[in-house]
Amino acid sequence: MFKSTIRDKLSTHQTSTLFLLTIPLILLFFISFLIGRYPISPLEVLMVIASKVMPIKATVPLPSDAVIFQIRLPRILAAMLVGAALSIAGAAFQGLFKNPLVSPDKLGVSAGAGFAAALAILFSFSAVMIQVSAFFGGLFAVALTYFISKTFKGTSILTLILCGIAIESFFGAMISLSKYVADPYDQLPTIVFWLLGSFAAVTPQKLVMMGIPVIFGIFVLLLIRWRINVLSMGEEEARTMGVDTRKLQAIIIFSCTIVTASSVSICGIIGWVGLVIPHVARMIVGPDHKILLPASVIIGAFFLLLIDDVARTITTVEIPIGILTALIGVPFFLYLLRKSKKVWV
């Protein structure tokens, strides 16, 4: 299955580009620890972190430790993980469908997850159960799309997308219905906020629970990234090169669904990232999936971490991530579009 390792190797130029992309991400990662609503001086932050890895005693007030390790760290990791996941899934989907307008939720995963979560909120399930049902709701919706499209004769990738659109609308309507019947005082704000996405309620447990499938999915996509190149040349060509396209499609769809469903279940529905970060990556590194996928991971992680830093510091109220990704992301994207001279599909 993965015997193409030699052809997978990146050129030295590509390796150094990826390395350069990593630097701002690492910087932002450390800066993100220093900012937040709870006042801790940067020195204190360094002391607390240092005290965990070195045998020194930090003399800081008690909550600081919790703020850094129970609140900021999970949020930072979750934002990076989700940004990476949605972006790589978007890049893989755009390659698979040979269509630059596809985002990872096109097969109904977000709508399915959203409906399952809204239902769980309506039934007053616990936070963990909301997360779990969102995850399986997402998987269920994509499975439904996949198997319905299989029942059509002469299945093409286009049928799959059309079925996806239908399923997405269906679950979208179900979400509206659940908003309609929700208790306007308590449940409705929770559902609305959940649908707009937020990292406010991320806990270490939630992160671990959903981080594992995300990392697994990203890993699989990175392993098969060379084959996505082959796919985007067209199915016929791919088959003549000895690639089992059906199997490959299924693996890509499965991995993308796993990472997107897990992401949605951690932090709600975050639009826009999966659609546009792959384009940003393409402007920077070009259309070769070998480097496009890892670049999407790095840029996606950077972008969503930046957005969440803004979301948790700019006002006293938590701003839904889904709103900020568009507010900050759209002008940024249009700017890049103007600057970029690269041909990128």
């Binding site: 609503r37 919790a66 938590e318």
Partner: protein, 355 residues
């Protein structure tokens, strides 16, 4: 510099909000002084039949008031009721159909086919809004009630509803209870120096990260009972999401929780252990049956909540206040349910209050 400008903008916004709220409240008081059967509380002319037997309200806080004053006239609920909420309600009431509420969500045909003699609509409506609703109901009079969701100014709406329903005496009883408890609580908490006032956080939903600032109709009880609401966000409809870091920074002395799940988890969650209220075991769960005592909906159902919140915040100052007895009488008179001694103990204990 930027910080300064931001806070300036925030102050201006708050000033505008407070002024608007002030004007609103003043207008309410002036228009609600008319208590006759010919005009509703927006001053619209109404023509209600002399005998009213079937009543519907499309606003939940008014529905609750109708249930309190004249339950047998109620023909349906404007909001879904959970099994938990129905625990202390006779089946003949809890079995009433849900016909929807709000201007948009009310099912007009269902309500019409249930043949009400009068339809109430609550708080914050304009004459145009109510006239629109009136058109949908044709010849059935639509009556506007104002102040039904404002516990600091609810008297006139109780009196008006009593008048329309022909339950003036019962309305006066309720007003008397309300005024007594408010007077007692306000009087005693006014003596507390501001440095000794308890810092309170009101936690909504299962994450506990939804809340309302002071001045919201959802947190009026904290203000009345002399607590300092630690949530400092702009006033918004519904609720606002606040960050855990803000709560840790504010470090409240007492947490009032609206969600049973949150209440159960809060003592096990490692992050919340760093909040003073949790460390001191000062988290309380609002009793929910048959109606929420604290704010859902904001309205007459929070009258008992005033006494409860006062005891939660300042147990020493209100040790003479017999909440058990008061609750039992209130339930019998206004919730039409006789609580047994074990039921009343259960209500108190499951809210975290030891009586």
């Amino acid at each position: 510099m930027k910080q300064k400008r931001n806070s300036l903008i925030a102050i201006i916004l708050i000033l505008i909000l407070v002024t608007a709220l002030g004007i609103y409240v003043i207008n309410q008081t002036s228009s609600s002084s008319l208590n006759s059967k010919d005009k509703d509380m927006l001053g619209r002319s109404i023509d209600v039949p002399s005998e009213i037997n079937r009543v519907y309200s499309i606003t939940y806080s008014t529905t609750v008031l109708v249930y309190m004053l004249s339950p047998d006239k109620l023909i349906g609920w404007s909001a879904e009721r959970s099994d938990n909420e129905n625990q202390y309600m006779a089946e003949r009431y809890s079995d009433l159909p849900v016909l929807g509420g709000g201007k948009e969500d009310a099912n007009y045909e269902s309500i019409l086919s249930a043949k009400p003699d009068v339809v109430f609509v609550g708080h914050g409506k304009t004459v145009e809004d109510v006239d629109d609703i009136q058109q949908k109901f044709g010849s059935i009079p639509v009556v506007d009630v104002e102040g039904d969701n404002n516990i600091t100014n609810i008297t006139s709406s109780i009196r008006f509803l009593g008048l329309i329903l022909g339950e003036e005496e019962k309305a006066e009883d309720l007003i008397e209870i309300h005024e007594n408890v408010t007077k007692k609580v306000r009087g005693r908490v006014s003596e507390i120096p501001s440095s000794e006032k308890k810092k309170v956080y009101y936690a909504r939903d299962s994450t506990g990260l939804q809340s309302n600032p002071s001045g919201s109709s959802h947190t009026q009880l904290i203000d009345i009972c002399g607590g300092v609401n630690v949530v400092q966000v702009p006033l918004a409809k519904g609720s606002s999401t606040v960050s855990m870091e803000m709560i840790l920074d504010a470090n409240p002395d007492v947490i009032i929780a609206s969600d049973p799940q949150f209440y159960q988890n809060v003592y096990n969650d490692p992050v919340w252990q760093n909040v003073k209220a949790v460390a001191d075991k000062e988290v309380y769960l609002v009793p929910q049956s048959p109606f929420n005592w604290f704010e859902s909906p904001p309205g007459a159902n929070t009258i008992l909540g005033i006494a409860w919140t006062a005891k939660v915040l300042y147990p020493d100052k209100f040790s003479d206040l017999d909440l058990k007895n008061m609750t039992q009488e209130f339930y019998t008179d206004f919730y039409h349910y006789n609580l047994t001694d074990s039921e009343i103990t259960d209500i108190m204990n499951s809210s975290g209050l030891e009586v």
